[in-house]
């Protein structure tokens, strides 16, 4: 079930060795990990949380199909002990599937504080499976749970899929049975107030203060990342330059000229420029993890739903946009909770406009290079505002065409939880790891390719108009000159189509410089209007190939994917054109 700390439990049980795997009968990726339990290797799969087994949301169907198509040996049901009254009916349904099961009551510590008492024996007898108490967050109860899992796994023969599919019809009468079992085995105080949560909500969800407070929180988060990240980034850039001067420069005497160029001026400078932004990305994801784990996201859905309804969307769509600030790909996958196809497509159409962390590093670099320290944060904030505005305008424009049928909105507001440092660090690590693995996949290949394109055919001036890159740039120039983008930057944009993580590396290679020297050159090459036009284009055109692939996979429609790409390119060009020509007309 959602909000039970399932992922925390999974990570603690498996030692956070989770990997993405593909499963028969299912189109989505599930996390799985192999662990040693007793003397046996066991494969643990993290299934999505769900509210009921007959649901029509994709997550619910994923679980159903998984259970029907895979020989599951043991079902480990993670329940939220503080909401046992809501969750017991589904638990009973799942226990009656005929699979060996263990019920794990998570957040046992929180339940105890709230005065909820369990008669574990009666509960286990009623459910027909062992019951364990744990606190996934703090790790209490894990040795016992491991023992129980091992014992139950040993008791049963491997699962017979055919017999299981026959049993797979749940019964309404079970709900009545669940109520009876609840009355028999659990005592809940009549008034169950999460006192602190209610007090925080009184301020955070205040009719007048709520939205301003949210905007302030967003601004503070963003300022903190920028002010804390700046010095760290400078330090990182300094380290990389020192390493280059001390360790790599002597190689020039040993290696042939082209190899030195490819390895140091191509690969090292390209990667180094990207790597210096890792501290900012880490800080950014730490902040995002804090917001997500605290329970604040569903409050944002509450605050923003009225506005989003006018755009043909709902509060969840706004939350997905925020998630897109990290990376558009998981945000697109997050739209699976929406049942209405129109609503889902419209949400997927606007997510690519949300300013993801890969675009953030391009903007941080260019704003720092071309604007004064006082102006830079304002320019960056303006780009965030534009990101929202284009997303909203797109929704408004296409809501009637895509026909976002309204669907009832029903979201749980979980009590606020202060995530532990470990949890936040783990989440941030996962994100950074993801960023770096993407980076190594795309950036190395991209940077090498760009170096080759800007240095071939042999004999051409590096980065000059007679190289292959110059040729491509020349073709694109008539299209991009009206928006103030020259031949060289056109090549950069071309590679940015693959992934925005490459953009900075591409600039470094195209101009043959890195770090501060590159920043200084950019300031000479472009004026502020050209730079802002370039950033607008970068903000709005197709984020990256991964996003395109995800759009295709999630919408299962080539036409929709093509439309999304065409619309974002057209919008990017138009907005940049209007801005650039407008700025020139005004005499800038």
């Amino acid at each position: 079930m959602p909000n039970t700390g399932k992922s925390t439990f999974f990570n603690r049980l498996t030692g956070a060795s989770a990997r993405i795997g593909n499963w028969p009968g299912i189109t989505v990726d599930l996390l799985s990990a192999k662990i040693l339990l007793g003397a046996e290797m066991v494969e643990v799969v993290d299934l999505p949380g769900l509210y009921d087994l007959h649901g029509f949301a994709e997550d619910e169907q994923v679980v159903r199909r998984f259970l029907q198509n895979n020989p599951v040996d043991l079902l480990c049901l993670i329940l939220n002990a503080t909401q046992i009254d809501q969750q017991l009916p589904l638990t009973l349904q799942l226990c009656r599937l005929g699979l060996p099961a263990v019920a794990v009551l998570n957040m046992a510590d929180e339940a105890e504080r709230l005065g909820i008492r369990f008669d574990t024996g009666a509960l286990a007898a009623g459910l027909g499976c062992p019951v364990c108490h744990v606190s996934a967050k703090y790790g209490q109860g894990f040795p016992e749970t491991r023992d129980t899992l091992r014992r139950v796994l040993g008791q049963y023969p491997p699962t017979d899929l055919q017999a299981l599919q026959a049993d797979f019809a749940a019964d309404e009468a079970l709900i009545a049975e669940a109520e009876k079992l609840l009355a028999r085995s659990v005592t809940i105080p009549r008034i169950l107030e999460h006192d602190l949560t209610e007090r925080i909500d009184r301020i955070v969800l205040h009719p007048l203060l709520g939205i301003p407070l949210f905007l302030i929180a967003l601004f503070v988060l963003f300022q903190a990342v920028y002010t804390l990240g700046g010095p760290l980034q400078d330090g990182m850039a300094w380290l990389l330059t020192e390493f280059r001067d001390l360790a790599l420069a002597p190689l020039r005497a040993i290696l042939p000229g082209w190899l030195y160029g490819l390895l140091v001026e191509g690969l090292y400078d390209g990667l180094g420029t990207v790597a210096s932004f890792v501290p900012i990305i880490v800080l950014f994801f730490l902040g995002m993890a804090l917001v997500e784990d605290s329970g604040y996201l569903s409050r944002i859905a509450f605050l923003m739903d009225a506005l989003m309804a006018k755009l043909g969307l709902d509060g969840r769509g706004f939350v997905m946009l925020l998630m897109g600030f990290g990376c558009n790909v998981p945000a697109l996958m997050g739209t699976r909770v929406m049942r209405s196809r129109g609503l889902r497509l419209l949400t997927m159409l606007i997510i690519p406009f949300s300013l993801c962390s890969a675009r953030l590093q391009v903007f941080v670099f260019l704003t720092t290079a071309l604007f004064s320290p006082a102006q830079a944060p304002v320019v960056l904030f303006a780009l965030y505002v534009l990101s929202f505005l284009t997303a909203f305008a797109t929704a408004l424009l296409f809501k009637s065409r895509i026909g976002a049928a309204t669907e009832p909105l029903l979201i749980e507001l979980p009590p606020y939880r202060l995530p532990t440092l470990g949890q936040v660090a783990l989440r941030a690590w996962h994100e950074v790891h993801h960023f770096l693995s993407r980076a190594s996949r795309f950036i190395i290949a991209g940077v090498v390719m760009i170096w080759l394109l800007t240095h071939l055919p042999p004999g051409a001036t590096a980065g000059g108009p007679d190289t292959l890159a110059g040729l491509f740039g020349g073709w694109l120039e008539p299209l991009l000159r009206p928006i103030g983008i020259d031949q060289r930057m056109a090549v950069v944009l071309l590679f940015g189509f693959v992934a925005k993580e490459i953009v900075l590396g591409a600039m470094a290679v195209v101009y043959g410089l890195e770090g501060d020297a590159l920043a200084q050159l950019m300031a000479q090459q472009m004026d502020w209007a050209q730079a802002f036009s370039f950033m607008l284009f970068t903000l709005l055109y197709t984020p990256c190939l991964s996003t395109v692939a995800t759009l295709r996979g999630e919408s299962r429609s080539l036409a929709f994917t093509g439309f999304s790409i065409a619309w974002s390119l057209a919008l990017a060009w138009l907005v940049s054109l209007v801005f650039y020509q407008g700025a020139r007309l005004l005499g800038f």
Binding site: G55, F302, D305, A306, L307, A309, G315, P408, L410, E412
Partner: protein
């Protein structure tokens, strides 16, 4: 006690669910979150600009829109 729609309860006023008009998939989701006949519900607050309601049912807080809340009939307590 009078019978009203959940959307008509005053903030903080308690009601007891009598009936739900919701269509099937939505009805099931309501039930899964604890909306069942005989359960106590209480609207806590409403978002600005006619936004959704925060409703407490049992120990769970949920948000739902006013027009969806109108599908739930409750006995209003004073």
């Amino acid at each position: 006690m009078t019978m009203v729609r959940l959307s008509e309860l005053a903030m903080g006023q308690q009601g007891i669910i009598e009936d739900m008009d919701a269509e099937e998939p939505f009805r099931q989701r309501l039930q899964a979150l604890g909306f069942r006949v005989g359960k106590e519900v209480r609207p806590i607050r409403q978002a600005l600009f006619g936004g959704p309601l925060q409703v407490r049912v049992g120990s769970v807080n949920v948000i739902l829109r006013r027009n969806d809340a109108a599908l739930i009939h409750v006995w209003a307590e004073r």
